[in-house]
């Protein structure tokens, strides 16, 4: 039930953000987001941004895996 993709907000007009996923652009509603800014990465599901991607944690997870698992 969870087809949601991370994309970057490149423009915001009112309640609507333009999201970029690898060069494809789609509009998404920000109605479910407390706050969002241009440059943020968000998860898009069914035309809505549902949560922000914490990019620091993303990098941290990848680093941890590389260290703990790939040695």
């Amino acid at each position: 039930m969870c087809l949601g993709i991370p994309g970057k907000i490149i423009e915001i007009t009112g309640d609507t953000a333009t999201i970029d996923v690898a060069g494809t652009r789609k509009d998404a509603s920000l109605r479910l987001m407390e706050k969002a800014a241009v440059g943020d990465y968000v998860i898009i599901h069914a035309g809505f941004a549902i949560e922000k991607v914490d990019t620091k944690r993303a990098e941290e997870t990848l680093r941890l895996i590389a260290e703990a698992f790939e040695k």
């Binding site: 994309g7 996923v21 690898a22 060069g23 494809t24």
Partner: protein, 337 residues
């Protein structure tokens, strides 16, 4: 309705309106000596003994899309069906089923596109037909094209594919499918990708010239995508085809659009690409010939043919495991899950 601005039922009923439409729109644009007499048939001789003959109907919606239109699609599609069989396309027919009310300017745009595409490809549209159906019964425009080509070289058929052969695609997959899909109502997505609609016969001739005894089969992966064509190949030859996900060329923006909609590029239509199966000795030459051609710059080796499991198509995933790829059943639809 202004008879000059709109297509009317009268234009399809065989009388003076029909004649005027044929002369002023079709004959004028397609302009060649075989068509000029406007007889019920085009008469000609051909130098070769072996001929290829194909037909296709085009119902694409919308009729104008980024990178092409239904007219260009119909000419390229029929040329390609001949070309992948090793034939040089020579003559085409074009039949139109027009919905009453279609703008004359839209029709002229489509016809001009067909004329330009045919001219650039060196083929002539030598005979045709026009019918007009009532409003609501025709979805703007349907086109049927048939084509004749001559085969001077090897006959290509997937039954010739054998273990050890190499699978090559001529470029990025899924461009046309995504370009069309993202312009449908209810989806509206801005994808910087155009349809790859193109005539492939000069490319196929180059491939055959580079590897005359090594090319087993070629096909253009249109509806149903690459996965469907590979399944057809595997069924014909009874071998097993394995491709690597990592090696499949797909534009980043197409990847992004697929992720958003829940689509798989393996099942998307392509209108200016081909997949070729070539002997391993000649794979290098075939690949080089493709890359040297403007329509094959992104060509890549994507897989190999083995003995078994018989008739199956396998994918080696990006994390290293293998799974089966089936044919497409039904359309791909955007999903939430």
């Amino acid at each position: 309705m202004d008879r000059n601005k709109t297509v009317l039922l009268a234009h399809g009923s065989g009388g003076s309106y029909s004649r005027r439409l044929t002369e002023e729109v079709f004959a004028k644009a397609f302009d060649n000596p075989l068509l000029a007499p406007l007889n019920d048939q085009a008469v000609f001789t051909l130098p070769a003994k072996k001929l290829a003959f194909t037909t296709d109907s085009y119902v694409v919606k919308p009729i104008f899309f980024p990178g092409g239109d239904i007219g260009k699609l119909s000419v390229c599609g029929t040329i390609n069906d001949l070309a992948v069989g090793g034939a040089e396309p020579v003559y085409l027919s074009a039949s139109f089923i027009i919905e009453e009310g279609l703008g004359m300017d839209e029709l002229k745009r489509v016809v001009a596109s067909m004329a330009a595409t045919a001219r650039a490809a060196g083929v002539s549209i030598v005979t045709g037909d026009t019918k007009v159906v009532e409003r609501g019964k025709g979805d703007k425009l349907f086109i049927n094209t048939a084509g004749i080509g001559v085969i001077n070289g090897p006959e290509l058929t997937p039954a010739n594919i054998r273990p050890g052969d190499v699978v090559i695609v001529s470029g990025t997959m899924g461009d046309h499918g995504i370009a069309i899909m993202t312009h449908r109502e209810g989806i509206m997505m801005d994808v910087p990708v155009e349809s790859d609609c193109a005539a492939l016969h000069t490319l196929t001739m180059k491939i055959i010239a580079a590897a005359p005894s090594g090319v087993r089969a070629m096909r253009d992966p249109t509806r149903g995508g690459l996965a469907t064509v590979l399944n057809e190949f595997a069924a014909s030859c009874g071998c097993c085809i394995t491709i690597k996900e990592q090696d499949l060329p797909v534009k980043e923006a197409v990847r992004g659009a697929c992720e958003l909609l829940g689509f798989d590029p393996l099942y998307l239509a392509n209108e200016g690409k081909l997949v070729a199966v070539v002997s391993s000795e000649d794979a290098g030459k075939a690949l080089a010939a493709m890359k040297a051609h403007p329509l094959g710059v992104d060509a890549a080796i994507i897989g190999t043919v083995a003995d078994g499991p018989k008739g199956k198509v396998l994918l080696e995933t990006s994390i290293g495991n293998r799974r089966i790829i089936d044919m497409l059943s039904g359309e791909q639809l955007p999903r939430i899950c």
